[in-house]
Amino acid sequence: MVNNCSRIGFVSLVEYVTFGAEKPNIRMSDLQNLEALVTQVRRDILRQVHKVNSGHPGGSLGCAEFFVALYQELMDRNEDFSMDGKNEDIFFLSNGHISPVFYSVLARSGYFPVDELNTFRLLNSRLQGHPTTHEGLPGVRIASGSLGQGISAAIGAALSKKLNNDSHLVYTLCGDGELQEGQNWEAIMYAAGNKIDNLVVTIDLNGQQIDGSTDNVLPMGNIKGKFQAFGWDVLEIEKGNDLDAVITGLKNAKSRTGNGKPICILLNTVMGNGVDFMMHTHAWHGKAPNDEQLKVALSQNPITLGDY
């Protein structure tokens, strides 16, 4: 399962990850190790979508640092997955199409065997095109894919935590184009009006959506100003593909919870980050690389922890 690892000097790390399935949620707090994990996650994303010639690499690549930071540094997670998520931080992926990065980080955080990434989008797989609870994949608490529903679910889970006197946090990630769905604004209004302050919503500001740039498809104006006008505490992470900056930004967000306002992080990312020909374009939003393109893309992201 794990090749060429000792060669690049991540033996102990590889062991953690390899054993992750049996002993979940081991943390790798060293930044260098986390950088290595980000690179490996990018490989996982590329290899998943290439194998089935479908899926969404662009947004997935752009959020690799965010997912690694969240799952490895920020979230206080229990060893065993339980749907209820009591007494732990929980996460909802609202823009379900970036499932490749979600699956990779879940697997490499010990929720299910890393080898299972091989089954992405295949018949009878738990790794459906968009994440679902339907096949019982550990780490997933709600189906997403039809956009605009994640913040509502996150608010509900945050309210449950308050009722249960559980002081842990609820995180969710949305795309920027996704904010065009009206349900978000119902939820954004509710969360501020009802002081849902155990909630951290991150917006992946990559400026792209399927049909082009968000400015061309449906200009959304001042997103920061809109969240602030709705009564949210908004902070920006200017360098959303700089792991250190993402960790710092997320920790800042966490420190601002519990003050009567929901927290919004505007995460500036580059769609397709880490693969030069996929960056700064919407072209790779929902398109898989061919054999030749994969080779080039992987060469820009050499094996760190070992491929599945």
Partner: protein
């Protein structure tokens, strides 16, 4: 014939309210969400007793459904309340993805279903909601007939783990089923025994079916009256057992004949024992303004319409 007495007309939504009030006291995991129709849904008492477990979401049904789905994570049992139209058609995709596909323990409680909503007219009178909900895999669909049954159903669905659509109505109607009955999800209730025709009814049409059975009895015809309160999962056995005696059936519901109880019954019959069937239901039409009684008459949803359908289907045997 068994005699059924109206112990005093009441609205089915008040049965829901009474059930919810009781659940508030007995089940601390029950939470209620409402989209600006607390009084109409009779959720006031729950709200007063348990303000910390009542969530006013405003006129934002999509967010309400999503929030309810999220609240199940952490062990809550959310009951959402709004009109049937806003409980289903308006939020179909939210229910489909966040509730049904995710198999969340959400109870979607829907009042003012059908034409008996009355004067507000067709924008609010949904006649398609049973069809919408029964098509969702894993969704349980219940349409109760009176106050007592609605209260019992409200209590029963809290004990059941899975998504449920509970449909009830606005007007005061006969309250004739037993107080403090045990409500069994998926189990038909036999109200009259008979050999000449089976009448299967749900919702406000059940009382009408009992009146129709009396009229038929005066003409020497014995109708078997079955209350199907759970449209999904359907009590196939009760239907098949009855038509094995009567060899014809009338289905009666306050819903479009496309997608309703009648079509579910047709499928069971077609698969097992093709049987003449008449549909007392709206016929692919919207409603309109009027009083509930006027609308039930105009759209052929009363005892008279059931008698007519019964005579017609008996002649087709």
């Amino acid at each position: 014939m068994k005699k059924y007495t109206n112990t005093g007309s009441k609205d089915t939504r008040s049965g829901f309210g009474a059930g919810l009030t009781q659940l508030g006291k007995t089940n601390s995991n029950v939470v209620a969400l409402c989209a600006d129709l607390t009084g109409s849904l009779k959720m006031d008492e729950f709200k007063e007793n348990h303000p910390e477990r009542f969530f006013q979401v405003g006129i934002a049904e999509a967010n309400m459904i999503g929030m309810a789905a999220g609240m199940t994570i952490g062990g809550k049992i959310p009951f959402t309340g709004t009109f049937a139209n806003f409980s289903t058609g308006r939020v179909y995709d939210q229910i489909r993805q966040s509730v049904a596909y995710s198999y969340k323990n959400v109870k979607i409680c829907a009042s003012h279903a059908g034409v008996t909503l009355g004067e507000d007219g067709a924008t609010h009178q949904i006649l398609e909601d049973i069809g919408l909900m029964k098509m969702l895999p894993g969704m349980t669909v219940i349409n109760t007939c009176d106050y007592n049954q609605t209260k019992a159903a409200t209590l029963a669905i809290a004990e059941y783990n899975g998504p449920v659509y509970l449909r009830f109505g606005r007007p005061k109607v006969a309250n004739f089923t037993q107080e403090d009955q045990t409500f069994e999800i998926g189990k038909a209730v036999h109200l009259q025994e008979g050999n000449d025709v089976t009448i299967v009814a749900s919702g406000h049409l059940v009382w009408e079916a009992l009146i129709a059975a009396e009229t038929l009895n005066e003409q020497g015809l014995k109708a078997e009256v079955i209350n199907i309160h759970t449209i999904k999962p359907l009590d196939n056995k009760a239907i098949l057992n009855s038509v094995s005696k009567t060899r014809c059936i009338v289905t009666a519901e306050e819903h479009n004949f496309l997608g309703g109880l009648g079509e579910s019954v047709s499928r069971v019959l077609a698969e097992n024992t093709p049987t003449p069937q008449e549909f007392v239901a709206t016929k692919d039409t919207f409603g309109e303004s009027g009083t509930p009684a006027q609308l039930m008459e105009k759209y052929g949803l009363n005892a008279e319409a059931i008698v007519k359908a019964a005579l017609k289907v008996i002649a087709r045997k």
